[in-house]
């Protein structure tokens, strides 16, 4: 039998029986998983930053790319993504409220707050789908040169023109193509007819070309509308790849979070945790859910703001 002095030492240090971290196995493992996931996401975002610095002159400015807001016409930079951020923060709040209610063994409140969290998550995933849809469909269209550089069309006043405005004229055309497809011949004919039009690189430090050079570049190149893994009208093609990959990976986290939340919610309904005597499972999925919010905070900054 150990002496009392040894026992005290064991409790103070890391001996078995005491709980130096004060957390149970499941919670600890969730934390270590989140730690590794945090490293994964920071790797992605750092790679994004590296590529962005490398291609600064052709890297799209996010506020010129994500300008749509449901029901509003024209440029609404940042507004939609701000709404998405708000939705995710809100669902994080309802998740804390669910965990808090679980600690008080208040089954009704846990049910209620879990349900709100799931709804918030679904709205967020839906919003992301909507944003992807508009990103893929495209907005103004661009010229892709034979060297696969993306260039945008401007008029003599230095306004960015959509294909719709180039072909139909400033009065008739829309600032966005609204899903209308234009051929290279149409855009080329309109550009030739209008002396003031020229093309420019999309980035913050983009170079512009003269009208003659612009027409020649379009003649040798092609028009591109919308975005996919190979072409995108917004600028440097890696931008679209990173956008699909990072927001896609985050969106997948949100989606799986919703699924896991739903399973826990179902178990709350069944009374599983009531019988078990504690709601620690709610706490564990709560950690995951907050992590998803945490990652979004960084994606929001590095993709949309900086």
């Amino acid at each position: 039998m150990a002496s009392s002095a040894e026992m005290t030492q064991e409790e103070n240090n890391w001996g078995g029986g005491s709980r130096p971290l004060g957390a149970r196995y499941g919670k600890l493992m969730m934390w270590f998983f989140l730690l590794s996931d945090a490293l994964t996401f920071s790797g992605f975002l750092t790679a994004y930053g590296l590529m962005r610095f490398k291609f600064e002159s052709t890297w799209p400015i996010a506020e010129n790319v994500f300008t749509h807001f449901p029901g509003l016409e024209g440029d609404q930079p940042l507004l939609y993504v701000a709404l998405m951020t708000f939705i995710l923060i809100m669902s994080s709040v309802t998740m804390v409220l669910a965990v808090n209610a679980g600690e008080k063994m208040n089954r009704k409140a846990v049910t209620n707050w879990m349900l709100w969290t799931i709804i918030g998550g679904l709205i967020f995933v839906g919003s992301q789908a909507w944003e992807w849809y508009h990103f893929i469909i495209g907005d103004s269209g661009a010229v892709e040169t034979a060297r696969q550089e993306i260039l945008h069309i401007y008029n003599e006043e230095g306004e960015r023109l959509s294909f719709s405005q180039v072909v139909h004229g400033m009065e008739e055309g829309h600032a966005s193509n609204h899903g209308e497809t234009f051929t290279k011949a149409e855009v080329l004919a309109a550009m030739k007819a209008n002396e003031g039009m020229y093309i420019m690189e999309p980035g913050k430090a983009g170079v512009s070309f003269t009208h003659e050079a612009s027409v020649a570049m379009l003649e040798a190149g092609d028009v591109v509308q919308g975005a996919n893994m190979i072409h995108n009208e917004y600028g440097q093609k890696q931008f679209a790849n990173f956008f699909f990959f990072i927001t896609g990976f985050h969106g997948f986290h949100v989606f799986s979070g919703v699924v896991i939340n739903f399973i826990i919610f179902y178990n709350v309904l069944l009374g599983t945790y009531e019988r078990r005597g504690h709601y620690r499972m709610v706490e564990k999925v709560g950690l995951y859910w907050h992590f998803v919010d945490l990652v979004w905070v960084f994606v929001f900054t590095f993709f949309y703001l900086v």
Binding site: L35, A47, N100, F291, T301
Partner: protein, 102 residues
């Protein structure tokens, strides 16, 4: 969470996060002239964005994820790897990737 009464502390963090996000969005739309000064390779505005983001992240981790109220051992187990490995990862990727600029 026996050290908390009610839910006011949750809503307090909610308002802090909301206000910070609001400030970020407003700055992102307005882009004040004086904040566009270049400093160590990027604008002052970008530093402001990154600092505000880290403040938001701290609130989420400390309060929502409850780390502030955990034992010291768990805090170290979580903070040390993050605070050492993420800056290290960023540093090594950016320096080793610098050949791309040549």
């Amino acid at each position: 969470m026996s050290d908390h009464n009610g839910t006011w502390w949750i809503w307090k963090v909610f308002w802090i996060l909301l206000v910070i996000t609001g400030v970020e969005v407003a700055l992102g739309i307005v882009k004040p002239e004086f904040m566009l000064t270049q400093l160590f390779g990027t604008s002052v505005l970008n530093y402001v964005f990154i600092i505000l983001t880290l403040v938001k992240a701290a609130y989420i981790v400390q309060i929502f994820m409850h780390v502030k109220f955990e034992k010291k051992g768990l805090k170290y187990a979580l903070y040390l790897p993050t605070l050492i490995l993420i800056p290290y990862l960023t540093f090594i990727l950016l320096t080793e990737g610098s050949y791309l600029f040549q």
